[in-house]
């Protein structure tokens, strides 16, 4: 019986091994390899790529601390964090309104939230390029109120694009959490003299926290590795970890360095996931 159960997992294990573990090991191996003379890499052990993240050689060949890549990591964390917070703030009222509609309206609204997934991500980000551009309605409005230059190719433009791309991933778990709430709890909040705001803050928010946490992981993790928004809306001027990795494998042809940054990014993701896992384990233990 026990043996049969283990055999049933074989397809999953094979899939994980072939599509995740093996490529991951290859990336790890590449990250400690020598940079190839004509791009690619050579099989010589050399952990210099990791050193390159923090230090660079000056003209005399001395190692000096160089924060340029740290700045990229910092910017990535900041933008991903800001995206997560903005998504939370926007998703809460949206999810609340959806969850409190009649069943038919609710189904329709949830369908609308997932609608953007039916269109290619690139197309959707391009759409923002047009909307924010000087001919788009937001761009025009910006000029009409006396704004200078273009809204595009700024951290703000990237943030708008990222919030737009990832917010459905926040709305859905928060919606699920709010929908699970006993409506009588909200009525009890009002019955006990709590204004809408008090009830939202003291009843809805604490009880939807698991949904918000799940949404935060779903938004923050892909936001860390985002490539499209910085490339298109950031105009490639504002390098993020995703675009950095992409250029190392592409234009710069420095595979070992690209692989090293990719592993650092993955480490960051794993840290977020571990924190989240510990939180939910603690919660399970308490329940």
């Amino acid at each position: 019986m026990r043996g049969a159960r283990i055999w049933g997992l074989v397809p999953a294990w094979v899939l994980m091994l072939a599509t995740l573990m093996v490529p991951l090991l290859i990336v790890a191996a590449v990250s400690v390899a020598e940079r190839g003379s004509y791009g690619g890499f050579a099989w010589d052990f050399n952990p210099l790529s990791y050193r390159e993240i923090l230090f660079s050689e000056d003209w005399d060949g001395n190692l000096v601390f160089d924060p340029k890549y740290l700045a990229i990591i910092g910017r990535t964390l900041l933008l991903a964090g800001a995206t997560t917070l903005i998504c939370m703030a926007l998703a809460l009222p949206v999810a609340y309104v959806i969850a409190t509609r009649p069943p038919k309206t609710k189904a329709l609204l949830i369908y609308l939230v997932t609608l953007p997934f039916w269109v290619s991500m690139i197309v959707r980000v391009y759409a923002w390029l047009i909307i924010l551009g000087s001919e788009g309605f937001v761009g025009r409005f910006w000029h009409w109120i006396g704004g200078e230059g273009t809204l595009l190719f700024t951290p703000g433009a990237m943030l708008v694009g990222m919030v737009y791309s990832y917010i459905p991933l926040m709305v859905l778990p928060v919606f699920a959490a709010i929908e699970k709430l006993d409506p009588a709890l909200l009525e009890a909040g009002a019955d006990l003299y709590g204004s809408r705001w008090t009830t939202a803050r003291r009843v809805i928010l604490p009880l939807t926290w698991p949904g918000l946490a799940a949404g935060a992981v779903l938004v923050f993790v892909p936001a860390l590795g985002t490539v499209l928004e910085p490339m298109l809306l950031g105009g490639g001027k504002q390098m993020m970890m995703g675009t950095l990795i992409q250029t190392q494998f592409g234009g710069a042809r420095n595979w070992p360095f690209g692989a090293a940054v990719a592993l650092v990014l993955m480490a960051m993701v794993v840290i977020v996931l571990v924190i989240n896992a510990r939180r939910s384990i603690r919660k399970e233990a308490r329940a």
Partner: protein, 357 residues
């Protein structure tokens, strides 16, 4: 004793789309009264309670709370509190925090809050549980905390939405007594919603029977049971035998009736305007068997017998009509009537209620 008016419901109607939940409901609840809204599910009793709480608005009519019209007042500004059917305790707060929630929103300072929370926990015998969370409690304990939380802000009116329906039988009986005692002790007006007629008869000062969105009758438990005003009330409260009869003369509240069983007598009537067909309501426990058969006497055959502990229920067939008869097992002689046996049965004129058919 003169009492003020706590809640006045003026001609309130409520429609949900095409569905008429309440149809011109009109009554007044006195201060310090244990008032029960009783009716089958879907009769509109919960809707009415939710209107008083502020969770629904009437489509028509007005609700007045201690002389103040409250239709425009949001729920959180009404000085009434609710004990919810599901209790709706805040799962992320301790019991003490649950009870203090309303007090904080009313702006009570901390020392005053603490005193009140301790008082409330004591009132419901839950002092030892102050720092527990709702999910660590049994149903009956949750019920008590829900009560304490609703009573803490000293509401003018306490609304109870079928609060006992989730408890088991034994506990329900105990909570009935506790609720009744709490109401006397606090002097707060209780509005109690239930579909359980036994609960309603046991606890209430007055009962409002609702059916099909309308007030069917308002009165004391005894009035509701003994003097039902229509067939709906007679049928819903307790058990009864309905018999078709003919009114041959009407004199105010008295009617001269003739039954297909061949009897002719005078009885109290309600809702009839003249001679013609009518319905008799006769409670099973008001029919005597054999030596207890007095008044109008018939003979019949016992068709079935159900032993219920304190009572035995018989179905007796007489002249084409089946009568349910309930007999208290004072001495264990109920056994002595067997199925198929011929018995004398009788009832007195005053036991019969004549109603419109």
């Amino acid at each position: 004793m003169t009492r003020g008016k706590a809640v006045e419901v003026f001609n309130v109607s409520k429609r949900f789309g095409d569905y008429q939940a309440l149809d011109h409901v009109d009554f007044t609840i006195q201060e310090n009264e244990f008032f029960t809204l009783l009716g089958p599910s879907g009769c509109g009793k919960t809707t009415l309670l939710r209107m008083i709480a502020g969770f629904e608005t009437p489509s028509e009519g007005a609700i007045v709370l201690f002389g103040q019209e409250i239709d425009r007042l949001p729920a959180h500004k009404r000085h009434v509190n609710t004990v919810f059917q599901s209790y709706a305790l805040f799962p992320h707060m301790t019991l003490a925090q649950n009870i203090a929630f309303g007090l904080e929103n009313l702006g009570w300072d901390k020392p005053r809050r603490e005193v009140r929370v301790a008082e409330m926990l004591e009132l419901v015998h839950m002092t030892a549980f102050a720092s527990r969370r709702p999910d660590q409690l049994s149903g009956g304990q949750r019920q008590r905390i829900a009560l304490a939380r609703a009573l803490a802000p000293e509401p003018k009116v306490l609304l109870l939405d079928e609060p006992l329906s989730a408890l088991d039988l034994k506990l329900r009986q105990a909570m009935r007594d506790e609720l009744r005692a709490l109401q006397r002790q606090t002097g707060i007006t209780f509005i109690f919603v239930t579909h359980d007629q036994k609960e309603a008869l046991d606890m209430s000062d007055r009962i409002c029977v609702l059916g099909q969105g309308r007030v069917q009758q308002i009165g004391t438990p005894a009035e509701i049971y003994e003097e039902p005003e229509n067939r709906f009330v007679a049928d819903f409260i307790g058990e009864t035998n309905f018999l078709d009869a003919e009114v041959i003369a009407l004199d105010g509240a008295r009617a001269r009736i003739r039954t297909p069983l061949g009897l002719e007598f005078d009885a109290a009537q309600k809702g009839l305007s003249g001679p013609g067909p009518a319905t008799l309501s006769l409670r099973p426990e008001k029919i005597g068997l054999q030596e207890q058969a007095t008044g109008n006497v018939l003979t019949g055959t016992i068709r079935s017998r159900n032993y219920m502990g304190g009572y035995t229920h018989f179905v007796v067939e007489t002249g084409g009509a089946s009568l349910r008869v309930s007999r208290r097992n004072a001495v264990s002689q109920a056994e002595s009537y067997a199925v198929g046996q011929e018995v004398r049965l009788g009832f007195r004129d005053e036991s019969v209620r004549v109603l419109a058919r």
